[in-house]
């Protein structure tokens, strides 16, 4: 499992970073989304992988077998913030497209 998660993080980071460096605004916004997934998974992985140990204090649950709740709460915050970032970037992207007439990140027609 660890290897699968690591590969997943690796691929999401690679595709995210590659898109982040592209010249079209939509590529960048998709890249940011993918990079966010990667980072969230990475943070969760820092709490190690635990199967069947959701940190819920139900009767008879053993906190010793819980997944670490701290990275989880950090990721929850991260999800919210990246959602706001995506929304803001989307609106800026649309406004820039309307104002400059191009979807290049620098607002000009250079192609790559």
């Amino acid at each position: 499992m660890e290897i699968v998660v690591a590969i997943g993080i690796g691929v999401l980071t690679t595709t995210g970073v590659y898109l982040l460096l592209r010249p079209r605004t939509f590529q960048v916004i998709i890249g940011l989304s993918l990079l966010t997934y990667a980072v969230n998974l990475f943070i969760l992985a820092m709490g190690r992988l635990v199967v069947g140990g959701a940190p819920l204090l139900t009767e008879g649950a053993d906190p010793g077998k819980f997944a670490d709740p701290v990275p989880q709460s950090l990721v929850l915050t991260s999800i919210v913030i990246s959602f706001s970032m995506t929304a803001l970037f989307l609106v800026v992207l649309l406004a820039a497209r309307g104002l400059t007439g191009t979807d290049h990140v620098d607002g000009d027609g250079m192609t790559t």
């Binding site: 690796g10 970073v17 590659y18 079209r24 709740p69 919210v80």
Partner: protein, 998 residues
């Protein structure tokens, strides 16, 4: 003693408070603003007068407030004889300037702003002289620079005002910086910033090798502020300020701040060789050059400005001489100069106001038209020139006496009487010129206005100041003697020399020099008269092309050019290289420790740990095979196939979401899934406004070599970043957990937070403050999105109907039995009904998620997003117009309520004497529902819920609303407001008022 001392901070801070109030007065409230400002200044005078008995005979009032005790900083308010004298000057002349300004400022000027700045300046100046701590003094020092910038630039439509303000700020700001360095050196050497402690440590400082740099830095600050050569050039340009400002700042108070500092530090530094040479020489040069320059100015305020520079030089010179008697003369002349110069500036302002010009070559014979003001100005100018029976005469004679006294026997010392007499002669020259050319001579012929006397209230400040000049000049010992004595003792200590102020000392050498200076000055004036009255003459005959202004501008241009060059050389405005460098730096920073480790300890780089791996599961591998393929597909298609890329991104997100479920993070899975939905809807709405990118011929042809190289380079970096992240994650995951703080949260969640869902308890309780910040960010983003969309101009290609709509409409038009819009209305009819019916169910789900959040996966955030989805589904099902006709969502209110509720819950803890956001909880039994856990954190979570609904909904519907907006372009902004703001009569103007863009 302490009761009196507690007035000191009041004295300094009251003007700031009143200044704030004045700022909010309506634009034309001249009388109200002036009354408040004048009342504050008079209150200051009164407090100062009442405090006088507390500071006589070297007594000191102190009030200390703890500020940053950990690093030994205190706010100390301190009043002694010297600062008392300056306090009186600042408040007294301040009150007169306020009265004068009330009549000077035009009705169309935004006067409350003026008085507000003036009051804040008064407060800064008072804070400066009342500071008992050098850091605190520096703080107020910088404030005076900033406010002087605002006051000089008050008429900001005038280019000269802007330039003058900028120059003053640059020079005094630079001086302030050097002063800071000097203060830090002194504090480092002495070990304290307290003024009393510093002055008591003179021997320590003098023995230190840092004494010379400390003195030079402190003096640079003082010289910049008090316009001493070579930092004098900003003062004449500051004359672009309104005349009351010139009268207040640039004659009586701000320029005296540097003088005050030198007097304050006089006991610390006087007598040191560096001090003696630097201060005396700077003072001497300034005194002489200022006098000469003043003689040739033809702007009334220019004459006064250079004369101020010259007189400040005189005071500086006296301080540099380092003898107690010279210090007495310096303090005395400071007082006298403030009175006669402030009155002269005011008189110049009156002349400007009533004739429309300040050009001395156009003015003539004004005494006929304004006999009263003219007489006052003549007396004040007499004081400036040092005429007997006026205050300027007495201090100037003290000055000449000091120059004659033997100090060090150096060449400078021997030449001093000669140069002093020459400087005084120029002082006489420009005073005579001021009197003769303005008030005597033939009637002026080409004045812009017909001159007449000003209103009597405008003259009153001048009358009072001139009266002081006369009283001090005739009975000095009775009037000003005791005050001067008090100030002198504060500087020189109890062994200060006894002095006796007298009008007539007999035929002393100093009196002879005074007579010589007067004769010389008058003689020079009449010798140069033809030149001085000539309208074609330049204002600075000998300076030629060497002008401080030119040098200053050259330096500034050079700085800007240099900065621009470096920016062009090392910076870029392009996003791609910037991001490339950011990622590269991140990768390098991540790799550096491992590389270092591998180099220093052979073999110990990035290795796997020994924690047993979790058994692999085939479905999980399948999920990730799917996720990886989706991510790769999204990366490839994002350029030309946006919809496909968006869907594939969702696929990758789903893989992440399933991973959360698998790996015991149900909260994350729920939230991720809901956010995934909202993000996708949002991007879909956005795609409507993003014209499709069709692969052009060039795109399809073989890409250029440079492009291939760039893509290859980016791919290599991306692979490095991805490989690094994977390796790092694997290395961490294969090692046993380090413990951390998880145990604490698991152990305390139920007892301390009253919840079973540890993650939720962390979010709304243990780390509630973070969540508070997070929802605030969300609210700000939502408002920003809303604001950006209000003025949204979509790309031209996508305005109007979409291709699908056009096709549907064309189909309707082609058939006789259908009306245009029928197809669109019935499109996807069944799913629409289903979606319509989903509203109550999703609402129920949201409530459920919220209610169980504290104990089971869910919580306010997930619930809020779910609720927002319920709304946006209605938009999708029935169209924007249909929903907005029936549903008023009021997201702004949701946002505001949510933020308020969260903050109020946090503040509620204060009422129980606990820190912000401390929680309380309990369980109550509710019929039918059973045991319910109630925690104050639930209220907080309710705030989160409300805010998230509002923020998410406003983003979604603001974007969804665009489809109506661009269809009908006229009243779009109001409509958007209608959809999002409160109902009622105030609805339309409430959110901004201006009619919408297009």
């Amino acid at each position: 003693m302490t009761a009196a001392a507690s007035y000191l901070p009041v004295l300094a801070l009251l003007p700031f408070v009143v200044g704030m109030l004045v700022m909010f007065l309506p634009r034309h409230a001249r009388n109200g603003a002036a009354a408040l400002a004048g009342g504050t200044a008079l209150a200051g005078v009164l407090i100062t007068a009442l405090l006088y008995p507390k500071v006589t005979d070297g007594a000191v009032l102190r009030q200390t407030w703890s500020w940053l005790p950990d690093i030994g900083l205190e706010l100390t308010w301190r009043l002694d004889g010297l600062s008392w004298l300056f306090t009186l000057l600042v408040t007294g002349i301040g009150a007169l300037v306020v009265l004068y300004a009330r009549y000077y400022m035009a009705a169309e000027d935004p006067v409350p702003r003026f008085f507000s700045y003036l009051l804040a300046f008064m407060g800064s100046m008072l804070g400066l002289v009342l500071s008992g701590n050098l850091i605190q003094l520096l703080f107020f020092w910088e404030l005076t620079s900033l406010l002087s910038f605002l006051l000089i630039g008050y008429w900001h439509h005038n280019e000269n005002a802007r330039d003058g303000a900028r120059m003053a700020l640059t020079v005094t700001g630079l001086g302030g910086f050097l002063l800071l360095v000097g203060v830090l050196i002194v504090g480092h050497v002495v070990g304290s910033f307290d003024i009393d402690a510093v002055i008591a440590s003179r021997d320590v400082l003098m023995a230190s090798p840092l004494v010379t740099p400390a003195i030079l830095c402190l003096l640079a600050g003082a010289f910049a502020k008090s316009a001493q050569f070579p930092l004098h050039f900003w003062l004449p340009h500051a004359m672009a300020a309104p005349t009351p400002v010139s009268a207040y700042l640039h004659s009586a108070t701000m320029v005296k701040a540097g003088i005050y500092l030198m007097m304050r530090l006089w006991p610390l530094m006087a007598g040191n060789d560096t001090w003696y040479y630097v201060v005396s020489l700077a003072g001497l040069v300034t005194f002489l050059l200022g006098g000469i320059a003043a003689a040739f100015q033809y702007d009334l305020k220019g004459i006064l400005a250079y004369s101020t520079i010259s007189h400040l030089g005189l005071i500086t010179l006296l301080l540099g001489l380092s003898t107690p008697a010279a210090a007495v003369a310096a303090i005395f002349h400071t007082l006298n100069h403030a009175t006669f110069k402030a009155s002269l500036f005011m008189a110049a302002g009156v002349i400007d106001h009533e004739t429309g010009t300040r050009d001395i070559r156009r003015l003539s014979g004004l005494l006929r038209h304004m006999p009263y003001t003219g007489t006052l100005a003549i007396v004040a100018a007499g004081a400036m020139g040092g005429v007997p029976l006026l205050n300027g005469f007495i201090s100037k004679e003290m000055f000449l006496t000091e120059t004659l006294a033997f100090h060090t026997g150096s060449l400078l010392d021997r030449l001093l009487p000669l140069i002093a007499t020459l400087g005084s002669a120029f002082s006489v020259l420009y005073s005579v010129r001021f009197i003769h050319q303005v008030f005597f001579g033939p009637e002026a012929t080409d004045l812009p206005r017909k001159p007449h006397e000003p209103v009597s209230w405008m003259r009153l400040p001048i009358e009072l100041l001139v009266l002081i000049c006369l009283v001090v000049g005739i009975i000095p010992n009775l009037s000003v003697g005791p005050l001067l004595r008090t100030a002198v003792v504060a500087v020189l200590g109890p062994e200060a020399p006894r002095f006796h102020l007298e009008l007539w000392h007999g035929f002393t050498p100093a009196f002879m020099l005074s007579l010589v200076a007067m004769a010389l000055g008058a003689g020079l004036y009449f010798a140069l008269y033809r030149r001085l009255a000539n309208r074609e003459a330049r204002d600075r005959p000998w300076a030629g092309r060497v002008r401080a202004r030119r040098i200053f501008d050259g330096i500034m241009d050079g700085l800007f050019a240099g900065a621009g060059f470096i920016t062009r050389l090392a910076g870029t405005v392009r996003l791609q290289p910037q991001l490339f460098l950011v990622v590269l730096a991140a990768v390098a920073a991540g790799a550096a420790p491992f590389a270092y480790h591998a180099l220093t300890q052979a073999g110990a780089g990035l290795t796997l740990g020994n924690r047993p791996l979790t058994p692999i599961s085939v479905p999980f591998v399948v999920v990730w095979a799917f996720g990886i393929a989706s991510a790769a597909g999204a990366a490839i298609l994002a350029k030309f196939h946006r919809l496909a890329a968006l869907i594939l991104t969702g696929g990758a997100g789903l893989a992440v979401c399933l991973t959360f479920v698998w790996l015991s993070a149900p909260d994350l899975a729920v939230t991720q899934l809901l956010v995934e939905i909202v993000t996708t809807v949002l991007l879909l709405l956005g795609l409507r406004w993003l014209p499709a990118r069709v692969a052009s011929k060039e795109d399809l042809e073989r890409a250029k070599a440079a492009v291939v190289v760039r893509r290859g380079r980016d791919l290599v970096l991306a692979l490095l970043a991805g490989g690094g992240m994977a390796a790092l994650a694997l290395a961490a995951m294969t090692r046993p957990p380090t413990g951390g703080i998880a145990q604490f949260f698991n152990a305390n969640a139920l007892e301390g937070g009253g919840g079973r869902n540890v993650v939720n308890v962390i979010l709304v309780d243990f780390r509630g403050f973070d969540t508070m910040g997070e929802i605030t960010v969300l609210a700000i983003v939502a408002l920003t999105v809303f604001a950006l969309l209000r003025r949204f101009r979509p790309a031209r290609e996508v305005v109007g109907s979409t291709r699908q709509q056009r096709r549907q409409d064309a189909y309707d038009e082609a058939r006789a039995d259908r009306e245009v819009g029928d197809t669109a209305r019935d499109y996807l009819f069944v799913p629409r009904v289903v979606m319509h019916l989903l509203f109550p169910m999703i609402t129920l789900l949201a409530i459920h998620l919220f209610m169980r959040g504290h104990d089971e996966p869910g919580g306010g955030f997930a619930a809020g997003v779910a609720m927002a989805i319920a709304f946006i589904i209605q938009y999708m099902a029935r169209g924007t117009r249909w929903v907005e006709e029936r549903l008023r969502v009021l997201p702004l209110i949701w946002i505001g309520l949510g933020l308020l509720l969260a903050a109020a819950t946090g503040l509620g803890a204060w009422f129980f004497g606990r820190p912000f956001l401390t929680s309380a909880h309990g369980h109550v039994h509710v019929p039918l529902l059973g045991e319910l856990s109630l925690a104050s954190a639930t209220l907080f979570d309710l705030g989160v819920f409300s805010l998230v609904i509002g923020a998410t909904v406003i983003m979604l519907i603001a974007l969804a609303h665009q489809s109506i907006r661009s269809a009908r372009s006229g009243h779009s902004a109001e409509e958007l407001e209608g959809a999002t703001s409160a109902p009622g009569p105030e609805r339309t103007p409430k959110l901004g008022g201006e009619a919408g863009g297009d």
